[in-house]
């Protein structure tokens, strides 16, 4: 208990030290509320009944002391350094954040127009954006999520994307969150707010990566508001450093006829968790969620997805895949909730795992909670090694076991990469992600 108090003291000192002079009162109040909530909630534990954290132990994060400097600036970082860690394309708009703070010099953002505004949250807050005030932290229920509460308590900067009604933004907007990971463990609180007004279209890519091998904690929250008939494509790459802790969440709310598609690719961090919550809050709204997690060594990656069908004629498609090697562990929790009102819901979820090592383990728990009676819902989860019959088929065509395994693992993963519609990102994933998958020498 004493230890716990000491730990929070560090957060408390940093909380009070955060320079928020000149910020509007609503933001100060929000931060204070979130801080108070964090003190009540603390970090989640895998206690009985806490299904969301049943298979992931957050204690290593809770135990460690992380320093925080909300004013740190990216000294000595050049585009060359940062580009090595992330996908990039000259055509993309790019906002780079280093330890949670906007790095203008590393960014290439478009001029704000009537159609789209891409800026740092700090700028948006200081210019008294009504959109920010009406949406920021309104969609993230930090009341029951210690990590989200902590992020909100430290809310100072982040990314803000506002797509005007009817605007079709063809250029993908890339939000890059880099952690420097220095000698002493540090924490940063990446934050993003994306508002796509009615009838608009946009593509947003989030990348999380570390620049040095040091231990750090990246605690992120993204909020996405998708208006009536609006469409957002969202890609998320978690490529944190090997020793890093990453706990991120995204909350997505859709209006009538809105469409959200997501591709979440995770392979970084010693301990990684991604919470994706989608609220289908308008009739006819739809989401398509794809994901790929690749673990090796002693990594632990957890994907926790919650889809809530709140209105009729809503559709959700969830397809996640995992490739596990070494002594790693992966967790997939997928919950689909269909409210009583949400008749004609069409929902399916699937999680497939390729477990390459006998020491690796996956806990896959898809679940359906249905309160409406006229719905079409299905779910399934599989886990297994490469099929021996399949390998024999390939060997009988002259391939050795290594080549056969590599093709099969690559094929398994490429089904998810193929869902990526942004061609430049797909090319990056094909060359950087697929070609570095673990190989496997199978014993026969």
């Amino acid at each position: 208990m004493t230890q716990t108090l000491t730990r929070y003291e560090r957060y408390e000192a940093d909380f009070h030290a955060l320079d928020t002079a000149g910020r509007p009162q609503w933001l100060q109040d929000l931060r204070q509320t979130a801080w108070t909530r964090f003190l009540d909630l603390g970090f989640p534990t895998a206690r009985r009944g806490n299904e969301k954290w049943k298979y992931t132990n957050a204690a290593p994060i809770a135990r460690m002391e992380f320093g925080h400097d909300g004013r740190s600036r990216p000294n000595g970082l050049s585009a060359e350094t940062t580009d090595a860690a992330i996908p990039r394309h000259d055509a993309w708009s790019q906002l780079v954040f280093v330890d949670g703070v906007f790095a203008e010099a590393l960014s290439s953002r478009p001029e704000s127009t009537d159609e789209v505004r891409v800026s740092s949250l700090e700028e948006a807050v200081l210019s008294n954006s009504e959109t920010v005030e009406s949406h920021l932290a309104r969609h993230t229920p930090f009341e029951d999520d210690g990590f989200a509460a902590l992020n909100t308590a430290f809310l100072r900067d982040g990314a803000f994307v506002h797509v005007a009604a009817g605007a079709d933004v063809e250029t993908p907007i890339h939000l890059v969150f880099l952690s420097t990971g220095n000698a002493a463990p540090t924490v940063s609180y990446p934050r993003a707010l994306i508002v796509a007004e009615n009838g608009s279209r946009a593509t947003v890519i989030e990348s999380y990566a570390g620049l040095n091998g040091g231990r750090y904690f990246s605690n992120s929250v993204s909020e996405m508001v998708i208006g009536e008939g609006a469409e957002v494509e969202h890609y998320r790459l978690q490529e944190e450093s090997e020793a890093a802790f990453h706990v991120g969440s995204a909350r997505v709310v859709l209006g009538e006829g809105g469409a959200y598609s997501s591709g979440a690719f995770s392979r970084g961090a010693a301990l990684g968790r991604y919470d994706l919550s989608v609220l289908l809050d308008g009739p006819g709204s739809a989401c398509r969620l794809s994901g790929l997690y690749v673990t090796s060594g002693t990594q632990h990656l957890d994907n926790n997805i919650n889809i809530e069908h709140a209105k009729p004629y809503t559709t959700s498609r969830l397809n996640y895949k995992g490739i596990l090697d070494g002594r790693s562990r992966a967790v997939f929790g997928g919950t689909v909730l269909v409210r009583k009102e949400a008749q004609k819901t069409d929902a399916s979820q699937s999680d497939k795992n390729l477990v390459l090592s006998p020491y690796a383990e996956v806990d896959s728990k898809p679940a359906l909670f249905i309160y409406a009676d006229d719905v079409k819902c299905g779910h399934g989860a599989t886990a297994g090694n490469i099929d021996e019959e399949t390998v024999f088929y390939m060997r009988s065509r002259g391939m050795d076991v290594d080549t056969a395994s590599r093709l099969l693992i690559h094929g398994f993963a490429s089904e998810t990469v193929d869902t990526v519609r942004e061609p430049n990102l797909r090319a990056y994933l094909e060359s950087q992600f697929l070609d570095t998958l673990p190989g496997r020498r199978l014993e026969f």
């Binding site: 024999f392 390939m394 065509r397 002259g398 050795d400 094929g411 193929d418 026969f444």
Partner: protein, 250 residues
């Protein structure tokens, strides 16, 4: 002599399946192995290809004068042994194009031939796939995934044509095909015939023998070849069934 099998005994787990099988195949010949379900036909094909779960208890299989059983499945393929699968595996996410390129590369490398450029490979693939009427889109799809039964069998014949083996073993490649698909498959097999190559067709029905004329027909019963003859033996079996051979063999 291309293939010589002498006194072959094979088991799976505790079950004996082949019980002293003898077979000699010379270059240029087409052999048909016929027999009722459970007689060991598929086992014979799979043992030649090197399926791991079969145990050779006794006997010899020599291919081009070498001990075939000492080779890994991939080594057999590179040495020119090919089996068309009765139930080909589906390879999620592995495109047929990619699969064939990896196979052809492996086989050519072993045979001391230079690797085909993408262009050369595409030209070869276009030629061969037209023969078995597989369209260009199909080779971009995952291997056998979502293929109809007939498409899978044609894809097996395509692989045979691409790998250019010396000994082709067809495991019930004719079963489940409609008449058009059967013709396409038979044409593919016939175009493969040459004085230096041999074909062993494992089949349940004599139907395909109307399109691919065998030099020798063998009846496999309870793990042994109990009768061999020419083309006319297949017709006799069609007429009288296997009971007649069984009675004579007893």
């Amino acid at each position: 002599m291309l293939l010589e099998i002498r006194d072959l005994h094979v088991s799976v787990g505790e079950t004996d399946i082949l019980k002293g099988l003898n077979l000699t195949v010379n270059p240029g010949e087409v052999h048909a192995i016929m027999g009722p379900n459970g007689s060991g036909k598929s086992t014979l094909a799979n043992v030649i290809a090197g399926r791991p779960e079969f145990t050779v208890v006794r006997g010899e299989v020599s291919y081009q004068g070498r001990d075939l059983m000492a080779l890994l499945p991939e080594e057999r393929a590179r040495e020119g042994v090919f089996m068309a699968f009765q139930y080909p595996a589906e390879l999620a996410g592995v495109r047929t194009w990619q699969f064939l390129k990896a196979s052809v590369d492996a086989v050519r490398k072993h045979r001391g031939m230079k690797e085909l450029s993408i262009r050369e490979f595409d030209r070869l693939l276009d030629e061969k796939r037209r023969m078995v009427r597989i369209d260009a889109d199909m080779v971009k799809r995952s291997v056998n995934e979502g293929y109809s039964g007939g498409e899978k069998k044609r894809n097996e014949v395509l692989q045979m044509a691409m790998l250019d083996p010396t000994l082709a073993v067809l495991d019930e490649t004719d079963s489940g095909l409609d008449i058009d698909a059967l013709r396409i498959v038979a044409d593919g097999v016939n175009s493969f015939r040459s004085p230096s190559k041999a074909i062993v067709m494992v089949t349940h029905y004599q139907r395909i023998l109307g399109y691919v004329s065998p030099d020798r027909v063998h009846v496999l019963l309870d793990g042994r070849i109990v009768r061999s003859g020419g083309r006319e033996l297949a017709l006799e079996l069609e007429e009288k069934g296997y009971d007649w051979v069984r009675a004579e063999a007893a």
